[in-house]
């Protein structure tokens, strides 16, 4: 055993990323690890990728990764990313944010970007609650869980995110837990290489905050839950992929080809310009 001070992946991180603000065992760190591993393995040109994040614990990730990055207002990373992508289609634009940011306040942007098949990659770290503000109920909080804003138990039906994404028209949809980090990395690689709107849901742990609502005090408790409840079934019906305490359906749900907004836009522009030339 050797005591070290630097990690081989440090080159993909800004100084802040090496000492991030996340709590002990927070899944965000695993996603950060997984994401930069994917960048490394794909040997992606770091000058040509932009990471965009929203608000919440995971929102910090844009600042941690050593690429062009932007930390937007709450709920708006997707439309910002759309602007970047359309302005410079040669950039890979990745949105990494949380369940609250992407599906509560930002829900509208998500479904429309998916509908348009914008060529952006959206990674949602789903920790089932609002962690940064102290554990309030969110769009993915399971029924009956008591949070600080559902002290008598949650009465809202949670989103089934992979179903929502598939239904909105995403061309690639996958879901993994942080325990399945290697498969997560593979999915991220696949998404980064795929044209069109891709969505990856990362079932993540929030031991400090959500752990209190669920009596899963130790980080490992979450991992053990993931281990116990996970069911890998590729291309199963996303509609049947609801997450319950004893079943977390995982795998790739969608992987289809469909012309992206950018492609269609470029085609149109060329048509228009040709017509004009002909006219002129």
């Amino acid at each position: 055993m050797v005591v070290e001070t630097t990690h081989p992946l440090d080159v993909y991180l800004r100084e802040t990323g090496m000492h991030h603000i996340w709590c002990t065992g927070c899944g965000n760190g695993i996603l950060l690890n997984s994401f930069v591993t994917a960048l490394k393995e794909l040997e992606i040109n770091l000058d040509k990728i932009v990471v965009v994040s929203g608000i919440g614990c995971i929102g910090r990730i844009a600042g941690y990764i050593n690429t062009d990055s932007f930390h937007t207002t709450h709920g708006r990373p997707i439309p910002f990313a759309v602007g970047v992508k359309l302005a410079n289609p040669e950039l890979k634009v990745v949105v990494i944010s949380g369940d609250g940011d992407l599906f509560a306040i930002g829900g509208n942007h998500f479904i429309h970007a998916a509908r348009r098949n914008m060529d952006i990659q959206v990674i949602c770290v789903n920790n089932f609650n609002y962690g940064m503000t102290g554990g309030q109920q969110g769009p993915t909080t399971p029924l009956n869980i008591s949070t600080t804003t559902t002290p008598y138990g949650n009465i809202e039906h949670p989103f089934n995110l992979v179903h929502l994404a598939a239904g909105s028209g995403a061309v690639y949809v996958a879901r993994w837990t942080t325990l399945h980090v290697r498969r997560l990395t593979e999915s991220i690689k696949k998404a980064l290489q795929k044209e069109g709107f891709s969505f990856i849901e990362v079932i993540s742990q929030c031991p400090e905050i959500y752990g209190k609502s669920t009596k899963m005090g130790l980080p490992v408790d979450f991992m053990n839950w993931f281990k116990r409840a996970s069911e890998i079934q590729h291309f199963s019906d996303p509609a049947k992929a609801e997450i319950t305490s004893d079943r977390i359906p995982l795998g790739e749900f969608v992987d289809i080809e469909k012309p992206t907004y950018e492609t269609l836009l470029r085609e149109r522009i060329i048509q228009v310009q040709n017509k004009m030339q002909g006219g002129a």
Binding site: V3, E4, C23, G27, T185, V220
Partner: protein, 105 residues
């Protein structure tokens, strides 16, 4: 598969046992990054790691190596660490040499 039972039945030392050299692992730990979540310890497939007594700058007990020879260099600890505080590599020949010399002294 009945491999496991079979393997028990197989008692001889394979003739090529010495020839095949299993790669030796070196585990690197960035002690002060560790927040002590314990994933690497709990989910190491070969139970190579254990919690150390040491308390680091963050007040956590970083992992320490229990039995390096068990390590298969699968790198799961590297992949699962939320704090990029641990990574494993195959031992370089230099390192092996160095160790040999140490043993000599």
């Amino acid at each position: 598969m009945k491999t496991v039972t079979e393997t028990k039945k197989l008692w001889r030392k394979p003739l090529d046992a010495d020839k095949i050299k299993q790669p030796q692992a070196e585990i690197y730990i960035i002690t002060d990054r560790c927040k002590g979540c314990g994933y690497c310890i709990a989910y190491c497939p070969k139970e190579v790691l254990e919690e150390s007594e040491e308390i680091n700058a963050r007040g956590a007990h970083p992992p320490k190596v229990k039995d390096i020879n068990k390590c298969a260099i699968c790198g799961y600890c590297t992949a699962i660490c939320p704090d990029l505080a641990i990574f494993v590599k195959e031992k370089t020949n230099e390192q092996k040499e160095a160790e040999k010399n140490e043993r000599k002294e």
